[in-house]
C-alpha cells in the first residue's frame, strides 16, 4: 500500500514548478517535504490531493492510478496551514463532515458517526469542545480539529501543508510532538510539507528536500544531516561557513593544518568546503582563519560568535559557555579552525 510518485513534471505558464520528481512513501511512513518557498512542495501536495494535475508523470497508491481519480474519491485527508475549518459548523459537525457527505449507501449511521466523532475528540484531547465553533478556539486547537476532521474519513494518506506555520513557537513544538504521537497511534501514511528544517528533521522518518522543483536529496534525518549530498542541502539544514581548501580524498588541507572532509564522492583539488559553526575550535594564536570578533550572542545553548575574516568573510562559530571564548571581547583577533569540513 505504498504511494509511488514517478517522474512528475508540472509547469505554470512555462514556469517549471516541478521537474521530474519521483519518490515513494512506504505504508505508515511519516515523510516530510522540505524546501524553501517556491521549491514546489505545496504544488506537489496539491497534485497528490487531486487539486491540480501534473503535465507528465504518474501517482500510484496500492496499484491504483491516483491521477485518474477525482479528488473526492482519493480519500486523502488534508490539513491546511489556515486550518480551513467550516466556520459555521461546530467542532463536532466539522469532524463529522467527511462522513455525512457520503452518498447514503456508504454513509455510516448517525450513532456510528457520533461514536467516531467522540473517539476523535478524545484523540485530539478536546472532548468537551464538540459544541464549540472554530472562532471560539485557539490556533492550536483549531489545527487539532482540522486533523481530526481529516482522520475521520479514515484516509489512505494524510497530507499536511505547513500545519504549524501560523502558530507561535511554543504551541508549534507541543503540537509537533503530539502529531508524531497521533501518527504512531493511527499508523496513517503521512506526508507533511514544511520550510522549517528543524521541524522536518524532528518529525519525519524520511525527508525529501526540494529546491526549485527538483529533488535534491531523500533520506533519513540523520543521513541528511551527516551526509548531505549537495551544497544546498548542507546550507538549508543549518548555518554554514565557507572554507577554501585543497581537498585530497578524505582530507582537506589548509594553511598550516588539515582536517577530515566529508563528501558524497571522493574529491580532489581546490574546493570551497563548508563547516558548521559548532565543528570549530577558537584560538588566540596558531593556525586557522584569522578573524576579528564582531559580536557575541550569549543567549541560547551555546555562545554564538560572529566573526569577520581578513578578506571580509563572515563566520558564525558556536562555543560552549564555559570555554575560553567567553573571555573574548569584540574586535579581538582570533584564529578559527574547523574540526571537520564538508565538500561537494
Amino acid at each position: 500500500m505504498s504511494l509511488i510518485v514517478s517522474n512528475i513534471t508540472k509547469t505554470f505558464d512555462h514556469f517549471p514548478a516541478l521537474t521530474d520528481v519521483s519518490f515513494q512513501a512506504e505504508p505508515g511512513e511519516f515523510l516530510a517535504l522540505l524546501g524553501p518557498s517556491g521549491s514546489g512542495k505545496t504544488t506537489l501536495l496539491r497534485l497528490l490531493a487531486g487539486l491540480d494535475q501534473p503535465n507528465t508523470g504518474t501517482v500510484q497508491f496500492d496499484g491504483i492510478d491516483y491521477l485518474a481519480l477525482n479528488p473526492r474519491d482519493r480519500r486523502i485527508g488534508m490539513v491546511f496551514q489556515s486550518y480551513a475549518l467550516f466556520r459555521h459548523m461546530s467542532v463536532a459537525q466539522n469532524i463529522a463532515f467527511g462522513l455525512t457527505v457520503r452518498p447514503s449507501k456508504e454513509r455510516p449511521s448517525k450513532s456510528e458517526i457520533k461514536a467516531t466523532v467522540e473517539r476523535l475528540l478524545k484523540l485530539i484531547q478536546l472532548e468537551d469542545f464538540g459544541h464549540r465553533y472554530p472562532s471560539q478556539l485557539s490556533g492550536g486547537q483549531r489545527q487539532r480539529v482540522a486533523l481530526a476532521r481529516a482522520l475521520a474519513i479514515n484516509p489512505r494518506i494524510l497530507l499536511l501543508d505547513e500545519p504549524f506555520g501560523a502558530l507561535d513557537a511554543l504551541v508549534r513544538k507541543d503540537l509537533r510532538r503530539w502529531l508524531r504521537q497521533i501518527h504512531d497511534e493511527t499508523g496513517v501514511t503521512t506526508i507533511f510539507v514544511t520550510h522549517d528544517q528543524e521541524e522536518a528533521l524532528d518529525l519525519a522518518d524520511r525527508v525529501v528536500v526540494l529546491k526549485s522543483g527538483q529533488i535534491e536529496q531523500i533520506g533519513k534525518p540523520v543521513e541528511l544531516y551527516h551526509r548531505p549530498q549537495t551544497e544546498f542541502v548542507f546550507d538549508f539544514l543549518g548555518s554554514s561557513n565557507p572554507a577554501p581548501a585543497r581537498v585530497d580524498g578524505d582530507t582537506a588541507h589548509f594553511d598550516g593544518f588539515s582536517v577530515p572532509v566529508i563528501s558524497a564522492t571522493p574529491l580532489n583539488g581546490q574546493k570551497t568546503t563548508r563547516f558548521r559553526p559548532f565543528d570549530t575550535q577558537l584560538a588566540t594564536e596558531g593556525a586557522g582563519f584569522k578573524a576579528k570578533l564582531v559580536s557575541v550572542l550569549p543567549a541560547g545553548p551555546s555562545l554564538r560568535l560572529e566573526l569577520k575574516g581578513a578578506d571580509g568573510t563572515l563566520y558564525e562559530v558556536h562555543q560552549a559557555h564555559d570555554s575560553n571564548a567567553a573571555d573574548l571581547k569584540v574586535r579581538d583577533t582570533v584564529y578559527i579552525r574547523p574540526t571537520k569540513v564538508y565538500a561537494f
Binding site: 473526492r72 463532515f97 457527505v101
Partner: protein, 281 residues
C-alpha cells in the same frame, strides 16, 4: 477586531461641518419624505384609503410585486454564479467582466429600458419575428421583468464578490478532499458562509426592483391596470392632479424604503462580520 481609528479633536470647524451635514440631510431627505405623508393625508384618512383601494392602485401593487418576485430570484441566481466564477476561477477577461457587471449602475435607466424596445419593440430587431409568433415583450410583463433585471443585475453579485474573495477557497477545497460533491459543497459550505451577504444583496436588489422608474417607464406603455407598476402609477396620478392618490401610493414606496432600511441596518448590526461591506478584520 477593528483597530480604533484615531479621533479628530473637536474643533469648531468639525462641529460646524457635522451640523451642516445633518441640516442638509434634513432638508433634502427628511423634509420631502415628511411632505409625502403630509400630502397623502391632506384630506384625511378616508380619501387616503379610498385611493389605495382603487383597482388601478391594487393592480399596480400586484404587478410591482410580481416583477420583483421574478427579477430578484433570477438576479440572485446570476449573482451567485457570477461571484462564484469570478472568485473561484482564473480566466482571461475577468477584469472586463467585472467592469461590465457595473454597467447597470453607471448607465442611465432610460437606456436600460430603451435597449429592449430597440430589440423587441414593434420596430425593433426581433419585433417582426415576435409579432408573427404572437409573443409580446414590450408593453407587457416580460418587458418589465427584463428591464428590471438589467437595472438590478449587479446588486447581489457586487455584495458577494468581495466577501467570497475575502473568505477564499480553503473551506471549499477542504470539503472536496473530504469527499463532498458539488451539491453538498454548495449547500453545506458555500451557501451558509454567504447567506447573510446574499440576504443583504437580495434586499437591496428588491428595494431597487420595486422602486425602479426609468427603465420600466420606457417598456411599460403605461396601460392602466395592466402594465403600470407602483412608481408609474404614481406618475400617472400626479400628472392628473390627483395629489392625494399620488402621495398615498408614494407612502407605500416610502414605507417599503423604510422597511428595507430597517432590515439593512439590522443585518449590518447583527452580521457585520459576515457582510462584505463591513468586514471586521
Amino acid at each position: 477586531m477593528s483597530a480604533k481609528a484615531a479621533r479628530f479633536p473637536k474643533t469648531p470647524a468639525a462641529i460646524g461641518l457635522t451640523l451642516f451635514v445633518i441640516a442638509w440631510m434634513v432638508l433634502v431627505i427628511i423634509l420631502p419624505l415628511a411632505n409625502v405623508l403630509f400630502e397623502a393625508f391632506a384630506r384625511g384618512v378616508a380619501p387616503y384609503l379610498t385611493s389605495l383601494a382603487h383597482p388601478d392602485a391594487i393592480s399596480a401593487v400586484k404587478l410591482t410585486l410580481l416583477v420583483a418576485a421574478i427579477a430578484v430570484p433570477l438576479n440572485a441566481v446570476f449573482g451567485i454564479a457570477a461571484a462564484w466564477a469570478i472568485t473561484r476561477f482564473e480566466f482571461s477577461g475577468k477584469g472586463l467582466l467585472l467592469s461590465i457587471l457595473d454597467l447597470p449602475f453607471t448607465i442611465s435607466p432610460v437606456i436600460s429600458g430603451l435597449v429592449w424596445v430597440l430589440l423587441f419593440g414593434a420596430h425593433g430587431w426581433f419585433g417582426a419575428v415576435l409579432q408573427d409568433a404572437g409573443i409580446q415583450i414590450i408593453f407587457a410583463l416580460p418587458g418589465l421583468v427584463i428591464a428590471t433585471i438589467l437595472v438590478t443585475l449587479p446588486f447581489v453579485a457586487r455584495e458577494l464578490i468581495p466577501l467570497m474573495q475575502d473568505q477564499g477557497t480553503d473551506e471549499e477545497v477542504a470539503a472536496v478532499t473530504l469527499g463532498a460533491n458539488g451539491w453538498s459543497l454548495f449547500f453545506r459550505v458555500t451557501l451558509p458562509n454567504i447567506k447573510w451577504a446574499l440576504t443583504y444583496g437580495v434586499l437591496l436588489c428588491t428595494a431597487r426592483a420595486m422602486g425602479e422608474f426609468g427603465a420600466v417607464s420606457v417598456v411599460s406603455g403605461h396601460i392602466r391596470g395592466l402594465t403600470n407598476t407602483l412608481p408609474l402609477h404614481i406618475e400617472v396620478l400626479y400628472n392628473e392632479y390627483d395629489s392625494v392618490g399620488a402621495f398615498a401610493a408614494a407612502t407605500l414606496l416610502a414605507g417599503l424604503a423604510i422597511i428595507t432600511l430597517i432590515l439593512k441596518t439590522f443585518l449590518e448590526w447583527r452580521f457585520a462580520g459576515e457582510l462584505a461591506a463591513h468586514r471586521k478584520h
